[in-house]
Protein backbone atom coordinates (compact mmCIF):
# COMPACT_ATOMS: atom_id res chain seq x y z
CA UNK A 1 0.00 0.00 0.00
CA UNK A 2 2.93 2.24 0.75
CA UNK A 3 4.32 4.52 -1.87
CA UNK A 4 7.88 3.34 -2.07
CA UNK A 5 10.56 5.70 -3.31
CA UNK A 6 14.31 5.47 -3.11
CA UNK A 7 16.98 7.46 -4.88
CA UNK A 8 20.69 6.73 -5.02
CA UNK A 9 23.61 8.34 -6.74
CA UNK A 10 26.60 6.26 -7.82
CA UNK A 11 29.64 8.15 -8.99
CA UNK A 12 32.05 5.24 -9.30
CA UNK A 13 32.36 5.40 -13.10
CA UNK A 14 33.07 8.39 -15.30
CA UNK A 15 29.46 9.45 -15.67
CA UNK A 16 27.34 9.80 -12.53
CA UNK A 17 24.38 7.45 -12.32
CA UNK A 18 21.21 8.47 -10.49
CA UNK A 19 19.12 5.36 -9.80
CA UNK A 20 15.50 5.57 -8.72
CA UNK A 21 13.39 2.77 -7.31
CA UNK A 22 9.64 3.00 -6.72
CA UNK A 23 6.98 5.52 -7.72
CA UNK A 24 7.96 8.94 -9.06
CA UNK A 25 4.95 11.19 -8.85
CA UNK A 26 3.94 14.64 -7.67
CA UNK A 27 4.83 13.63 -4.10
CA UNK A 28 8.28 12.20 -4.79
CA UNK A 29 9.42 14.06 -7.95
CA UNK A 30 10.77 17.03 -5.94
CA UNK A 31 13.38 14.73 -4.39
CA UNK A 32 14.48 13.58 -7.84
CA UNK A 33 14.66 17.20 -9.00
CA UNK A 34 16.83 18.09 -6.02
CA UNK A 35 19.14 15.13 -6.53
CA UNK A 36 19.64 15.95 -10.23
CA UNK A 37 20.25 19.61 -9.39
CA UNK A 38 22.86 18.64 -6.81
CA UNK A 39 24.71 16.43 -9.28
CA UNK A 40 24.67 19.11 -12.00
CA UNK A 41 25.69 21.81 -9.51
CA UNK A 42 28.92 19.83 -9.13
CA UNK A 43 29.57 20.55 -12.80
CA UNK A 44 28.36 17.26 -14.24
CA UNK A 45 26.80 17.96 -17.65
CA UNK A 46 26.11 14.35 -18.53
CA UNK A 47 24.11 12.14 -16.19
CA UNK A 48 22.65 8.66 -16.46
CA UNK A 49 19.19 8.29 -14.95
CA UNK A 50 18.52 4.65 -14.14
CA UNK A 51 14.75 4.08 -14.04
CA UNK A 52 14.97 0.26 -14.11
CA UNK A 53 13.42 0.03 -10.65
CA UNK A 54 10.68 2.56 -11.28
CA UNK A 55 7.15 1.19 -11.10
CA UNK A 56 5.18 4.38 -11.75
CA UNK A 57 5.83 7.71 -13.38
CA UNK A 58 3.47 10.67 -13.79
CA UNK A 59 3.56 13.98 -15.67
CA UNK A 60 5.26 15.72 -12.74
CA UNK A 61 8.11 13.21 -12.95
CA UNK A 62 8.36 13.70 -16.71
CA UNK A 63 8.39 17.48 -16.15
CA UNK A 64 11.40 17.08 -13.83
CA UNK A 65 13.14 14.91 -16.43
CA UNK A 66 12.50 17.43 -19.21
CA UNK A 67 13.84 20.23 -17.00
CA UNK A 68 16.98 18.24 -16.21
CA UNK A 69 17.51 17.34 -19.88
CA UNK A 70 17.34 21.02 -20.88
CA UNK A 71 19.86 21.88 -18.20
CA UNK A 72 22.24 19.07 -19.21
CA UNK A 73 22.13 20.19 -22.84
CA UNK A 74 22.67 23.83 -21.88
CA UNK A 75 25.82 22.63 -20.15
CA UNK A 76 26.82 20.78 -23.32
CA UNK A 77 26.00 17.38 -21.90
CA UNK A 78 23.22 14.80 -22.09
CA UNK A 79 20.69 13.06 -19.85
CA UNK A 80 20.66 9.34 -20.65
CA UNK A 81 17.60 7.47 -19.43
CA UNK A 82 17.56 3.73 -18.76
CA UNK A 83 14.12 2.14 -19.07
CA UNK A 84 13.15 -1.45 -19.76
CA UNK A 85 9.65 -1.87 -18.30
CA UNK A 86 6.97 -1.74 -21.01
CA UNK A 87 4.58 0.31 -18.85
CA UNK A 88 7.20 2.97 -18.14
CA UNK A 89 8.25 3.00 -21.80
CA UNK A 90 4.60 3.49 -22.78
CA UNK A 91 4.48 6.73 -20.77
CA UNK A 92 7.49 8.07 -22.68
CA UNK A 93 5.88 7.00 -25.96
CA UNK A 94 2.45 8.54 -25.46
CA UNK A 95 4.05 11.86 -24.55
CA UNK A 96 6.50 11.72 -27.46
CA UNK A 97 9.40 11.92 -25.01
CA UNK A 98 10.91 8.70 -26.35
CA UNK A 99 12.05 10.88 -29.28
CA UNK A 100 13.43 13.59 -27.00
CA UNK A 101 15.45 11.54 -24.53
CA UNK A 102 18.25 9.15 -25.42
CA UNK A 103 16.71 6.00 -23.92
CA UNK A 104 18.51 2.69 -23.54
CA UNK A 105 17.25 -0.58 -22.13
CA UNK A 106 20.17 -1.38 -19.85
CA UNK A 107 23.20 0.21 -18.25
CA UNK A 108 25.39 -2.13 -20.36
CA UNK A 109 23.99 -0.59 -23.53
CA UNK A 110 25.55 2.72 -22.44
CA UNK A 111 29.10 1.46 -21.97
CA UNK A 112 29.00 -0.64 -25.18
CA UNK A 113 31.01 0.95 -27.98
Amino acid sequence: MEQYFQIEERSDGEIPVVAVVGEIDVATAPQLRECLHTVMARGEATVVLDLLGVTFLDSTALGVLVGALKRCRELGGELHVVVSDARIMKIFEITGLNKVFPIVESLDALSAP
Partner: protein
Protein backbone atom coordinates in the same frame (compact mmCIF):
# COMPACT_ATOMS: atom_id res chain seq x y z
CA UNK B 1 22.45 12.27 -1.54
CA UNK B 2 23.78 8.74 -1.73
CA UNK B 3 21.52 6.14 -0.12
CA UNK B 4 18.73 8.64 0.48
CA UNK B 5 15.99 6.15 1.26
CA UNK B 6 12.53 6.85 2.46
CA UNK B 7 8.99 5.65 2.31
CA UNK B 8 7.43 8.66 0.70
CA UNK B 9 3.88 9.26 1.70
CA UNK B 10 4.31 7.78 5.14
CA UNK B 11 2.93 10.11 7.80
CA UNK B 12 1.74 12.64 5.21
CA UNK B 13 -1.65 13.21 6.83
CA UNK B 14 -1.87 16.20 9.15
CA UNK B 15 -4.06 16.95 12.11
CA UNK B 16 -7.44 18.11 10.80
CA UNK B 17 -7.21 16.15 7.56
CA UNK B 18 -10.47 14.53 6.50
CA UNK B 19 -10.90 11.80 3.91
CA UNK B 20 -14.29 10.53 2.81
CA UNK B 21 -15.26 7.53 0.71
CA UNK B 22 -18.82 7.08 -0.51
CA UNK B 23 -19.81 3.83 -2.19
CA UNK B 24 -22.89 1.70 -2.84
CA UNK B 25 -23.99 -0.05 0.35
CA UNK B 26 -23.11 -3.59 -0.67
CA UNK B 27 -20.96 -6.15 1.08
CA UNK B 28 -18.90 -6.87 -2.02
CA UNK B 29 -17.57 -3.28 -1.95
CA UNK B 30 -16.44 -3.26 1.68
CA UNK B 31 -13.05 -4.31 0.30
CA UNK B 32 -12.77 -0.71 -1.03
CA UNK B 33 -13.24 0.65 2.46
CA UNK B 34 -10.52 -1.63 3.82
CA UNK B 35 -8.17 -0.58 1.03
CA UNK B 36 -8.59 3.11 1.82
CA UNK B 37 -8.35 2.36 5.55
CA UNK B 38 -4.92 0.77 5.05
CA UNK B 39 -3.64 3.68 3.02
CA UNK B 40 -4.96 6.27 5.48
CA UNK B 41 -3.67 4.43 8.53
CA UNK B 42 -0.18 4.15 7.07
CA UNK B 43 -0.22 7.87 6.32
CA UNK B 44 -1.48 8.66 9.82
CA UNK B 45 1.68 7.12 11.25
CA UNK B 46 0.31 3.80 12.50
CA UNK B 47 2.66 0.81 12.33
CA UNK B 48 2.08 -2.31 10.26
CA UNK B 49 0.30 -4.24 13.06
CA UNK B 50 -2.01 -1.29 13.84
CA UNK B 51 -2.60 -0.86 10.13
CA UNK B 52 -3.81 -4.46 9.86
CA UNK B 53 -5.97 -3.91 12.96
CA UNK B 54 -7.51 -0.79 11.42
CA UNK B 55 -8.13 -2.53 8.09
CA UNK B 56 -10.05 -5.27 9.89
CA UNK B 57 -11.84 -2.81 12.19
CA UNK B 58 -12.99 -0.59 9.30
CA UNK B 59 -14.43 -3.62 7.53
CA UNK B 60 -16.40 -4.44 10.69
CA UNK B 61 -17.54 -0.83 11.00
CA UNK B 62 -18.98 -1.07 7.49
CA UNK B 63 -20.64 -4.39 8.28
CA UNK B 64 -22.27 -2.85 11.37
CA UNK B 65 -23.57 0.06 9.28
CA UNK B 66 -24.71 -2.30 6.51
CA UNK B 67 -26.96 -4.27 8.84
CA UNK B 68 -29.75 -1.78 8.37
CA UNK B 69 -29.52 -2.30 4.63
CA UNK B 70 -31.25 -4.58 2.20
CA UNK B 71 -27.89 -4.83 0.38
CA UNK B 72 -29.38 -3.25 -2.71
CA UNK B 73 -30.02 0.43 -2.06
CA UNK B 74 -28.29 3.34 -0.44
CA UNK B 75 -24.70 4.38 0.09
CA UNK B 76 -22.11 3.91 2.77
CA UNK B 77 -20.27 7.08 3.70
CA UNK B 78 -16.96 6.32 5.36
CA UNK B 79 -15.21 9.25 7.00
CA UNK B 80 -11.67 9.43 8.40
CA UNK B 81 -10.66 12.42 10.53
CA UNK B 82 -7.17 12.72 11.96
CA UNK B 83 -7.04 14.62 15.23
CA UNK B 84 -4.08 15.41 17.41
CA UNK B 85 -4.61 12.32 19.50
CA UNK B 86 -6.54 9.85 17.37
CA UNK B 87 -7.87 8.64 14.07
CA UNK B 88 -11.68 8.92 14.16
CA UNK B 89 -13.56 6.82 11.64
CA UNK B 90 -17.28 6.66 11.05
CA UNK B 91 -19.45 4.81 8.61
CA UNK B 92 -22.96 6.03 7.85
CA UNK B 93 -25.61 4.20 5.87
CA UNK B 94 -28.05 6.49 4.14
CA UNK B 95 -30.89 5.97 1.74
CA UNK B 96 -31.25 2.25 2.30
CA UNK B 97 -34.54 0.43 2.62
CA UNK B 98 -34.94 -1.11 6.08
CA UNK B 99 -33.76 -4.68 6.38
CA UNK B 100 -36.71 -7.10 6.23
CA UNK B 101 -37.22 -9.85 8.78
CA UNK B 102 -35.33 -10.94 11.86
CA UNK B 103 -31.64 -11.68 11.46
CA UNK B 104 -30.74 -15.36 11.27
CA UNK B 105 -28.46 -17.03 13.82
CA UNK B 106 -25.38 -16.62 11.64
CA UNK B 107 -26.00 -12.88 11.16
CA UNK B 108 -26.54 -12.46 14.90
CA UNK B 109 -23.25 -14.31 15.55
CA UNK B 110 -21.45 -12.11 13.04
CA UNK B 111 -22.90 -8.95 14.62
CA UNK B 112 -21.67 -10.01 18.05
CA UNK B 113 -18.29 -10.92 16.52
CA UNK B 114 -18.00 -7.44 14.95
CA UNK B 115 -18.47 -5.87 18.38
CA UNK B 116 -15.84 -8.17 19.91
CA UNK B 117 -13.37 -7.33 17.14
CA UNK B 118 -13.88 -3.59 17.64
CA UNK B 119 -13.62 -3.99 21.44
CA UNK B 120 -10.22 -5.59 20.95
CA UNK B 121 -8.78 -3.42 18.21
CA UNK B 122 -9.89 0.15 18.81
CA UNK B 123 -10.05 2.45 21.82
CA UNK B 124 -13.68 3.53 21.58
CA UNK B 125 -16.55 2.61 19.30
CA UNK B 126 -20.29 2.92 19.08
CA UNK B 127 -23.35 2.70 16.90
CA UNK B 128 -26.36 4.94 16.51
CA UNK B 129 -29.52 4.05 14.69
CA UNK B 130 -32.07 6.70 13.78
CA UNK B 131 -34.90 6.63 11.28
CA UNK B 132 -33.36 6.62 7.87
CA UNK B 133 -29.77 6.01 8.84
CA UNK B 134 -27.31 3.92 10.79
CA UNK B 135 -23.96 5.28 11.94
CA UNK B 136 -21.11 3.22 13.36
CA UNK B 137 -17.99 4.97 14.61
CA UNK B 138 -14.65 4.16 16.19
CA UNK B 139 -11.59 5.93 17.56
CA UNK B 140 -8.02 4.67 17.54
CA UNK B 141 -5.50 6.62 19.60
CA UNK B 142 -2.18 7.52 18.06
CA UNK B 143 0.65 6.22 20.22
CA UNK B 144 2.89 8.74 21.87
CA UNK B 145 0.33 11.53 21.54
CA UNK B 146 -1.76 13.14 24.21
CA UNK B 147 -5.16 11.49 24.43
Amino acid sequence: MSGDTEIAGADTLSVGDRVELIFPARGDLVVLARLVASAISARAGFDIEELEDLRLAVGELCLLALQGSDDRHGDLRLEFVLTDSALDISCTLAGAAPHMGAPNAEAADADHLSEQILDALVDEHGREQMDGFVRAWMRKHRRGRSV
